[in-house]
């Protein structure tokens, strides 16, 4: 190379500037790295981000009904909500019911039925009979077809649907609703089910978390400290139920705990309770808590165990050597060291418990049902997926709040699964 080129950029042997070449190599590395994480990214996108996004959008989406009755809602907005709407509203409603093709009306009536029970059959009946009406005035003729058209309650119920987005489902999820002027009011008392269920869900989940901790902590301690030949056996005892079908375990509890079940029979035989005062341990909230505690116990024991395994026994020995009482040594030395395990186990159990649904369905009976049971009901039976999405979103939001609180108080970096 001649001396003139030294002042120019440094070149690689094939004459490309070194900077460019380096950049290229780095880019290839970056692409390679990106390609390596791509499956994971796609997995997260498909299984988390899109479903959650879809859920959030469904929970406020009210566009469909607005594509079926756009003109009706336009004139409806001018109505003063006193008495019955004007002839014009009746007329556009009539025309749009006639114009709607295929399944549009059926779907729309399902939506309308969420805000006032009865819309579904009213629309169905009307759709058939309206064909005979050839000209106005429509108001009286529609009322003649079904007198519900003359009932302002039905008309007022439309008020919450006139916008393409709605918070109605969220209100519904916390026992509130819109009135015809889109003011927020409480649900009638005999339909206020969700707040009650939310509280129950949190109460049950919290209790289950506490009970699993109380039961799981000593087990995990034994697992971590016993000699291998005993701890292996104990580990199998923990894992065996973990591998057993959820349904089998739930049904086994039914047999044990019901009023004429094994437990009550033994208690009566032992003379501890009278035959007519058998304990109600099944088909109620108590049953739900007992069974869920047993089912979720491994989720507490395993993280606890894996953390306790890393706590050196010499810490406790040192504390005892230095004169601490066993209780004091445990409280000041062992317990703080096991907090990451408690956090991980607690959060894991709580998160699983809060969305539980099969066990409460089977053993919950009259008052042991949780929010998951209502989500399942609306998902399958009423097809009110908007409400499902709202309930699910609230659940998600509450979880995030709990997580945030937890982070504030204990710190996320303290979670350890092993």
């Amino acid at each position: 190379m001649s001396s003139e080129t030294i002042s120019g950029p440094i070149l690689t042997s094939d004459g490309i500037p070194l900077k460019v070449s380096l950049k290229k190599a780095e880019r290839i590395n970056k692409i390679r790295a990106f390609l390596l994480v791509l499956p994971l990214l796609a997995f997260i996108l498909i299984t988390f981000i899109i479903p959650i996004g879809d859920m959030l959008s469904r929970s406020v989406d009210d566009r469909y009904i607005n594509t079926v009755f756009p003109k009706t809602f336009e004139v409806y907005k001018k109505w003063d909500k006193k008495g019955l709407p004007s002839e014009e509203v009746f007329k556009t409603m009539f025309l749009e019911i006639g114009e709607a093709k295929g399944f549009k009306i059926g779907k729309a009536s399902t939506r309308m039925n969420y805000s006032k029970s009865g819309w579904k059959s009213l629309i169905k009946k009307s759709q058939r009979k309206f064909k005979k009406i050839k000209e106005g005035p429509y108001k009286d003729k529609m009322i003649a077809v079904d007198k519900r058209w003359g009932d302002p309650i039905y008309w007022k119920a439309l008020g919450e649907m006139v916008d393409p987005t709605t918070f109605g489902y969220y209100l519904n999820a916390v026992d509130l609703k819109y009135d015809s002027n889109k003011e927020i009011i409480a649900q009638p008392e005999n339909r206020r089910i969700y707040i009650h269920t939310w509280i129950k869900t949190f109460k049950v989940s919290l209790l289950v978390t506490i009970f699993t901790l109380m039961l799981g902590y000593p087990i995990a301690y034994l697992l971590a400290t016993l000699p291998l030949k005993y701890s292996n056996l104990l580990m199998i005892c923990v894992l065996l139920p973990f591998w057993t079908s959820l349904l089998v375990r739930t049904v086994a509890w039914m047999i044990i705990l019901q009023q004429k079940g094994v437990f009550n029979n033994l208690m009566v035989m032992a003379g501890l309770i009278a035959d007519e005062n058998r304990w109600k341990l099944m088909y109620n909230e108590t049953g739900t808590i007992i069974v869920m505690t047993q089912i979720l116990l491994p989720f507490m024991v395993l993280p606890l165990y894996s953390v306790m395994k890393t706590i050196s026994p010499s810490y406790m020995k040192a504390a005892l050597n230095l004169g601490a009482s066993p209780l004091h040594a445990f409280w000041k030395v062992y317990m703080p060291n096991s907090i990451p395990g408690i956090s991980a186990g607690g959060l894991l159990v709580f998160i699983i418990a809060i969305g539980y649904f099969i066990t409460p369905e089977l053993v919950g009976g009259k008052d042991g049902q949780m929010i998951g049971n209502w989500i399942a009901y609306h998902l399958k039976t009423t097809l009110n997926w908007g409400l499902c999405a709202a309930l699910g979103s609230v659940l998600l939001a509450v979880m995030l709040v709990f997580y945030w609180l937890y982070n504030k108080i204990i710190g996320v970096e303290n979670i350890k699964l092993g």
Binding site: I46, G106, Y114, R191, I193, Q259, K366
Partner: protein
Amino acid sequence: MRKTIKAAFLGLISMAFVGSATADITFVSWGGAYTASQQKAYIDTWSKGSGVTVENYNGGLGEIKAQVEANNVTWDVVDVLPDQAITGCDEGLFLKVDQSHFIDDMVVKPVSECISPQIFWSYVAFYDPAAFPGKKPKTIKDFFDVKKFPGKRGIHTWANALIEMALVADGVKPKNVYKEMSSEGGIDRAFAKLDTIKDHVVFWSAGSKPLELVSSGEVVMSLAYNGRIGAAILQDGKKFNYIWDGQVLEQEYLVVIKGTKNEAEAREFVKHASTAESLALQAKYIPYGPMRSSSIDIIKKGEPYFNTGVDVLPHMPNTPKRLRRSVIADPFWWADNGAEVSERFGVWKGN
């Protein structure tokens, strides 16, 4: 783009629901002895029966809606309840079918243009006679009378049929029940009647549970699906007594899912499954009542008709005599008011 993503996502969900598709048609029903009877009566007797794959589900339209919305339909024929039949047909989840070959032979009018008839089944009260050595309960009123017949009652965890039964027990004539339910205060009246047994009930949600509850003495009487009681009596030799009074008749239909890739075969299958002969044959294996009048005639002539060589008609819910004291569940009423009453029932249970 959004649509595609949504479709892809829903497709994924529906895949998760059903596993994989098959070449011929997939028939989805409730499982257990019921599906077994359908297998014998409809699938085994169909010339193309070997191509039918049977799957189980737990009712509801959730999975079907997901499949249709994602345009990835893997269920071809599904066994549904009337309110699903109505909602699904309204929402365009099912195909309309040719009803000309059975329409004049039905015990009750079909609820939608999408259905092919199947069976009647019934919520009915029953007890173990050993629990009542003296006087035995005979009416639904007795079921709701804890003074005359003390002891616990088993009832299901949802509101359907309970409202109707409570009203019949309160003195409403079976044929007027839905009029009462639609009238002001009708539902209040039903709940007031339910209040009278509230402290004496044990809830069940799985169909096999009430039989266990009664057998173990956990309850003295219970509501149950009549087919389950019948099977326990006919096949397992249990000694149960029905209370044929105020029972609530439900219907079961076959529908073809919109967007099925095997439409012609699916249509052919539901047609085959809803002939009078097929419906009658099913009663050989499970004591549910066929929906076609002529099927009942076939059974009547064939008694003792059940596969174990005993009479099956005494276990059927829709004999003319029993229909007089039956409420035929009105799916239209429930399609309208189901959500509202269910929420109220939830409040009632929880408090």
